[in-house]
Symmetry: C2
Subunit: 332 residues, 2 copies
Amino acid sequence: MNTPELANSVRLTGDAVEILDRRVYPFQRIWVRCTTSDEVAQAIRDMVTQSSGPLFATTAAMVLAARSVRHRPRDLALADLRAAGDRLVATRPTNNHIRDAVHAILAELRDLGEGDLAEEVERAARAHDEAYRTRSAALGRHAADLLPDGATVLTHCWADYYLIATVQATQEQGKHLEFVCTETRPYLQGARLTAATLVEMGYEPTLITDGMVAAALADGVADVALVAADRVTLDGHVINKVGTLGVALAANFAGRPFYALVQRPDPQAPTPEDVVIEHRDPDEVLHVLGRRTAADGVTGHYPAFDTTPPDLVTRIVTEKGAFRPENVKEAI
Amino acid sequence: MNTPELANSVRLTGDAVEILDRRVYPFQRIWVRCTTSDEVAQAIRDMVTQSSGPLFATTAAMVLAARSVRHRPRDLALADLRAAGDRLVATRPTNNHIRDAVHAILAELRDLGEGDLAEEVERAARAHDEAYRTRSAALGRHAADLLPDGATVLTHCWADYYLIATVQATQEQGKHLEFVCTETRPYLQGARLTAATLVEMGYEPTLITDGMVAAALADGVADVALVAADRVTLDGHVINKVGTLGVALAANFAGRPFYALVQRPDPQAPTPEDVVIEHRDPDEVLHVLGRRTAADGVTGHYPAFDTTPPDLVTRIVTEKGAFRPENVKEAI
């Protein structure tokens, strides 16, 4: 089975965290080297990595932070570690991977004695990474169960581990799929990350612009819509890359299923009002890969995520199975 | 009142038709010079001009064709002219401007005597151009009546004369509008043509990517959706730039009006089955302004238009007024 390059895009070395730069992938393979947790935070803020990348970057950053304070008194070292964690959590507000990773590592330390802090954090970080991969694999098997052999799956943005796990599970089940990917402006995650990874995994994906989603689903060019979710609320709202609401509306209009993938809903987010929608640099809308594409005198507007209400969602696929959105809190 | 540059983007000279190249506008002002009607047809096929540009390019091309055969016997000259017209009509199948312009000019000649063919065609061409502008102005006044003072109007693609006329009419009515424009990939008509023209007309448009339409309408960033139609069928379907269906679905979801502008429905198209949806070069989806934006191993898919059913359309605004889609055939 192919393990695509983006499945291992964060490396912890003896003195640094190296992050594959998703801003230029797959056109260039550049690894951004960070020697402090604050450099990792800056890299996350600058979108060097995204989707599940920040989770692995965060656990690795916590190891860097622990190494830098390992010789301080434990209470002071733990305070430094909490502060480093807070700065990582502050980088991006909508997805809860970073918050949960920091909390999981800090919680692990509370139950431990006075061993070497860096080693303890590294163990906790590895365990958190591994658990994330294991839960993604479970999610992928549940998602694969919903996809019929021969389906053409429309993706939006880049569903990262969830997509990789789903595709691997369909391959284990002997199902043949085809893929239609939106390019996902402004950052082109679909054209670059999803498409490149599906090619690595043996497919020949078809690319459409973000405006072609409704036509593709209505005309039968694709027959299932499958997206990740950055956050799912306990009342079944799906918060994901901007454009997802349009995909859900189109699937609903065309009578096609709309599936959203998330390991579990966020117990800290009962409703969409509990989720901060990140707005990013509006200039990104005015450029493509750094080149100006808009007329002078124009201002950009860049909400990074949108909110899809439960009645447009066919199933939310979690590590515990596929749920109707109104029942998704059972997945906690 | 400002007359923006794109309102006069085709020039007939003594020996050529000069067409403002919309593929690079507004970053470059290049006029493509065509000395035969077939060169004009090629320019239309290559998207040097689009929207209402092909209409003016076609009438001018018919003048060029008439000049080249003016000294032949009239029946042979007319046959040549018809053939030139057929080649122009064949360039782009979805919009009916080209077909109607060719037919109008040829019909005019049938009623004339044995005068100078080139002068007759030039008169008929001018009359057709002028009538198009007059009908667009009427349409614009009807559209302006629907737009409340203070509205923020979401545009998709480039509605050309219809948009210019609508904006001018709102200015005459003393209404203040704001605009949110989709960039409209792959060709970026919104980011380049619509945005540049609105700036010329005194506005500061906000640009969004095509995937942000549903969020913009749901979040109140825009409160009216306004698009042109390349074709409206007698049963009220709106065929327009791909992405329009998604705009209509989003407006419907958000409870916002969706208005489509067309001088009149096509009497030759009772239903959408009577309209050919053009597919363009899939490579355009894999590039932005000529630069590769997609991973290797990917295939593009590029339906240039999509079809919005009547139940998603609030009003179709014609030269004769605004109609509910089920009544649009009254506008003929």
